[in-house]
C-alpha cells in the first residue's frame, strides 16, 4: 500500500505527490469525491480507472491548472500553482496539442526559454534527434501527423528534465520504436512518475505501482505484483482491475 509517510527521501518530504480528500465538481457534475493517495519520491505509479473516473482531472489538479473544491494537493510538499512547483513538474495531457502557430523547433525553443532551460540549443537538438523529428524541424505543427505531434508533445513535457512527471496516456499514437524511445527517455529522468491510463499493458510497461480509482474515489492501491495476486495466476490483469472497478468479489 502507498501510505502518507513523514520520513524524507527528497530532503523534507517522503511523498512527492499527495492528494488528500479532494473533491472537485464541474458545475453540478462531480468529478472527484474525496480522492486520496500519495506517491513516494522516485516511485512510478499508474492511475487506473474507467472513462470518467476522474483521472485527467486529478492530473490537472496536480499540475495546478485546476484547484480542488475541497481537500488539498501538493507537489513535493508545495502548492502546485507556485513557481517552485512548476519548475519540478513535467506534464503531458491526453491528446496534447503543441502550439499550432509555431514550427517544431520553435515550440521546443519557446517552451525551453520560458522554462529557463540551460544549454537550450543542445537540449532541443538532442530531443529532436531522439524523437525522430529532424526532418520536421521547420514544419508547421498544424501540418504534422498525429503521431509526430505526440512525439513533439513528449519532447515538450521533458525538455526541462523534470523531477515529477505527470503523464496522461503518453504512448497514444506512437509507433512501437518511438514507444520504446519514449519509455527510455522517461526512465533516464529518474523522476517520480504518475501515468494516467486505462490500458493495463501500458501501465505495466511504465510503472510498478497502481492506484485504481472509480467515480472519483481511490478503490485500491499497491504494487503491480500485489494487483496480480488479487486474481488467479492465469487470470488477465484487466479482469482483476475490472472486478475492482465494478466491486465484484476477488476470485481467491
Amino acid at each position: 500500500m502507498v501510505l502518507v509517510e513523514e520520513e524524507t527521501l527528497s530532503g523534507t518530504h517522503t511523498n512527492c505527490i499527495s492528494v488528500n480528500d479532494v473533491t472537485k465538481s464541474y458545475g453540478k457534475n462531480p468529478a472527484l469525491s474525496g480522492l486520496s493517495f500519495s506517491i513516494p519520491c522516485g516511485e512510478k505509479y499508474s492511475l487506473i480507472g474507467p472513462n470518467g473516473a476522474g483521472k485527467s482531472t486529478t492530473l490537472k489538479l496536480l499540475v495546478g491548472l485546476l484547484v480542488p473544491d475541497r481537500g488539498s494537493v501538493s507537489i513535493d510538499g508545495i502548492d502546485p500553482t507556485t513557481k517552485r512547483a512548476k519548475k519540478l513538474i513535467g506534464y503531458l495531457p491526453e491528446d496534447a496539442s503543441p502550439y499550432n502557430t509555431l514550427s517544431v523547433r520553435e515550440n521546443l525553443e519557446y517552451i525551453g526559454a520560458i522554462r529557463e532551460v540551460q544549454n537550450l540549443r543542445e537540449r532541443v537538438d538532442q530531443l529532436i534527434y531522439e524523437m525522430g523529428l529532424s526532418e520536421y524541424e521547420k514544419s508547421k505543427v498544424s501540418k504534422l501527423s498525429r503521431g509526430n505531434r505526440q512525439k513533439l508533445a513528449v519532447a515538450l513535457s521533458v525538455i526541462h528534465e523534470p523531477d515529477i512527471l505527470l503523464l496522461d496516456e503518453p504512448l497514444n499514437y506512437l509507433d512501437i520504436p518511438t514507444q520504446e524511445k519514449t519509455i527510455s527517455i522517461f526512465d533516464r529522468l529518474n523522476a517520480t512518475v504518475l501515468v494516467s491510463t486505462h490500458i493495463m499493458s501500458i501501465a505495466e510497461r511504465l510503472t510498478h505501482g497502481a492506484i485504481v480509482i472509480s467515480r472519483g474515489r481511490t478503490i485500491w492501491d499497491g504494487t503491480m505484483e500485489q494487483l496480480k495476486q488479487l486474481g488467479d495466476p492465469t487470470e488477465a490483469i484487466e479482469k482483476i482491475v475490472m472486478r475492482l472497478m465494478t466491486g465484484a468479489a476477488p476470485t481467491h
Binding site: V63, T101, E109
Partner: protein, 470 residues
C-alpha cells in the same frame, strides 16, 4: 431529407439564443430602414462613401478570411451517410449564408434610411442587398480553395471593383448606391451566377477533397522561423506575440467561419496600415465641417478602429496551450508578458493614424487632436480588456484551424462587450479634448486594475481548463 438536413446543420452550428438574436437584429434593421428619416442621421453625401466602403470591406474580409462552415463531426459522420451531393451542397450553402452572408443583409436598415427613389427601385435594391449577401457567401467558399496570394488578388480585385463607382463608373455591383440601380443589378446577377456556380460545385465535392484542400492551402513549413534560444521568459513571449496576428469573427453577425492566424512581422503590417491611414487623412480633409465640429470621416474612422482593433485579441486565448504555458509559469506573469507584446503591437499599428492626425491637427482639421488622444491612450488598452473579457466569458480553444472549433453561440457575443466600450469611447472622445483625456485615463485605470489582479488571472486559467482547454 433536405429540410431535415438543413435543420440538422443549422442546429449543429448555431445555438438557439443566437438565432433569436439574429432574427431580432434583422427585424430591427428592416424597421429602422423604413421608419428612421434620413435627416435624423447627419451623414450627408458621406453615406455613399460609407456604404460603398463597407461593402468593399465585407467582400475583402470574406474573401481573405472566409472558409467553409464545416465541423470535425461532419467529416467523421455526415459525409459517410448515404446523402446525395446536391442535398449536401445546398444544405451547406444555406448554413454558410447564415454564418457569413447574412452579415451584409443586416446592413439593410442603414442603407434604406438614405435611399431616395420609387417603390420599385427600393424593392430592387432590397433584392440586390440579398444578392450581395449571396455573393459574399460564394466568395468565402470559393476563396477557401485558393492560396494566400490568389486570395489577396481576388480580394483586391473585388475591393477595387467595389470602389470604382466613387470615380463615376456605373457598371459595378456597388453602383446601385450611386443611382445606377439597373446597371448595378445586372452586374450583381452576373457575378452571382459565376461565383455561386463555383461555390456550389466546390461544396458538392467537399467530402472528397476536404483533406486535400486543407493541406494544399498553405505550405507545410515556415520560410522564416523565430529564434528563442538565449532569450529571457519575457523576451521569448514578447517576440512570439509580436509576430502573431489572429483575427476571427467567430461570434457571427459579420464574421468568418474558421479561425485565421497569420505570422506577420510588425514592419510588414505597418505598410498597409500606413496606406489606410493616408486614405483616412484624405477623407478627413474633404469632409471637414466649417463649424468646428469633428467631421464624419474622423468620427466614423475612430468608431471603426474601436470596433475592429479589439477584435484582434480574443483569439489569443484560442491558440494558447494551457498544458505548456501555465505548467511553465504563473498565470499572471504569462499573461502580463503577452499583454506587453499586444500593447506594443497595437500602439505600433496606431502610429500611422497618429501621424496623419498630427498633420491634420496642424492643418486645423476638427477632431484630429481628440483622435490622437483616443488612438494613443484608449485603443492601446484594448488588448488587455479584450483578452480579459474573452477569457472570462467566451473562451473556445482552437485545435484544428480548418474546421469550426465550436458552434456559434450567443455567449461568444460577450467578446463584443469591449467593442461597445471602445466604440462609445470613440464617440465620447470626439465631444471635447477634456472628455478624450478623461476616457484615456479611465481606460488606462481599468486596464491596470485588471493587470494587477493575481487571483484574477489564476481564475481565468481554472475557467479555461474547466471549459476543456488543454
Amino acid at each position: 431529407m433536405q429540410p431535415r438536413l438543413i435543420r440538422l446543420l443549422i442546429a449543429s452550428r448555431f445555438s438557439r439564443p443566437l438565432i433569436g438574436v439574429m432574427i431580432f437584429v434583422l427585424v430591427y434593421s428592416v424597421l429602422m430602414g423604413f421608419f428612421v428619416p434620413p435627416e435624423a442621421v447627419q451623414m450627408g453625401e458621406f453615406w455613399t462613401y460609407y456604404i460603398i466602403g463597407i461593402t468593399a470591406f465585407f467582400l475583402i474580409l470574406m474573401t481573405m478570411i472566409g472558409g467553409i462552415a464545416i465541423m470535425k463531426s461532419d467529416l467523421d459522420y455526415l459525409f459517410t451517410l448515404p446523402l446525395s451531393r446536391r442535398e449536401l451542397a445546398v444544405s451547406f450553402y444555406i448554413t454558410q449564408f447564415l454564418a457569413t452572408g447574412i452579415s451584409y443583409v443586416l446592413l439593410f436598415g442603414y442603407v434604406f434610411i438614405f435611399i431616395q427613389g420609387t417603390s420599385a427601385e427600393k424593392l430592387m435594391l432590397a433584392g440586390d442587398m440579398v444578392l450581395i449577401g449571396l455573393l459574399q457567401t460564394a466568395l468565402s467558399i470559393v476563396s477557401f480553395r485558393l492560396e494566400t496570394r490568389q486570395k489577396a488578388l481576388l480580394a483586391g480585385a473585388m475591393g477595387v471593383y467595389a470602389l470604382l463607382p466613387l470615380a463615376g463608373f456605373s457598371y459595378s455591383f456597388t453602383s446601385i448606391f450611386t443611382g445606377h440601380i439597373l446597371e448595378g443589378t445586372i452586374v450583381i446577377v452576373i457575378l452571382n451566377v459565376i461565383f455561386n456556380y463555383l461555390a456550389l460545385t466546390q461544396l458538392s465535392t467537399i467530402e472528397l477533397g476536404f483533406t486535400k484542400i486543407t493541406s494544399i492551402r498553405s505550405s507545410a513549413e515556415y520560410k522564416t522561423t523565430e529564434k528563442f534560444v538565449g532569450l529571457s521568459q519575457r523576451a521569448a513571449i514578447v517576440r512570439r506575440y509580436l509576430s502573431e496576428i489572429s483575427f476571427t469573427g467567430r461570434f457571427n453577425l459579420g464574421g468568418s467561419v474558421s479561425v485565421r492566424v497569420s505570422r506577420i512581422r510588425l514592419r510588414t503590417l505597418l505598410i498597409p496600415v500606413a496606406a489606410i491611414a493616408v486614405v483616412y487623412g484624405y477623407f478627413a480633409l474633404i469632409f471637414n465641417p466649417a463649424d468646428g465640429s469633428p467631421g464624419v470621416a474622423v468620427v466614423l474612422s475612430m468608431m471603426y478602429l474601436g470596433i475592429f482593433i479589439p477584435m484582434f485579441f480574443p483569439e489569443v486565448f484560442s491558440h494558447e496551450r494551457a498544458w505548456l504555458a501555465f505548467s511553465s509559469m504563473t498565470a499572471k506573469n504569462y499573461w502580463t508578458y503577452i499583454v506587453y507584446a499586444k500593447v506594443i503591437q497595437t500602439f505600433a499599428m496606431m502610429l500611422p493614424f497618429i501621424g496623419v492626425n498630427i498633420v491634420l491637427a496642424i492643418i486645423g482639421v476638427s477632431g484630429a487632436v481628440n483622435a490622437i488622444i483616443y488612438l494613443g491612450m484608449v485603443l492601446p488598452t484594448s488588448p488587455l480588456i479584450s483578452l480579459y473579457f474573452s477569457g472570462k466569458y467566451s473562451p473556445a480553444q482552437v485545435i484544428d484551424m480548418e474546421t469550426l472549433p465550436a458552434e456559434f453561440s450567443l455567449r461568444q457575443l460577450a467578446t463584443l462587450v469591449p467593442v461597445i466600450f471602445f466604440t462609445a469611447a470613440a464617440i465620447v472622445s470626439m465631444f471635447s479634448i477634456i472628455l478624450a483625456l478623461v476616457c484615456g485615463a479611465f481606460f488606462i485605470t481599468i486596464a491596470l486594475a485588471i493587470l494587477m489582479g493575481n487571483k484574477r488571472w489564476n481564475r481565468i486559467v481554472y475557467r479555461l481548463t474547466e471549459k476543456g482547454f488543454v
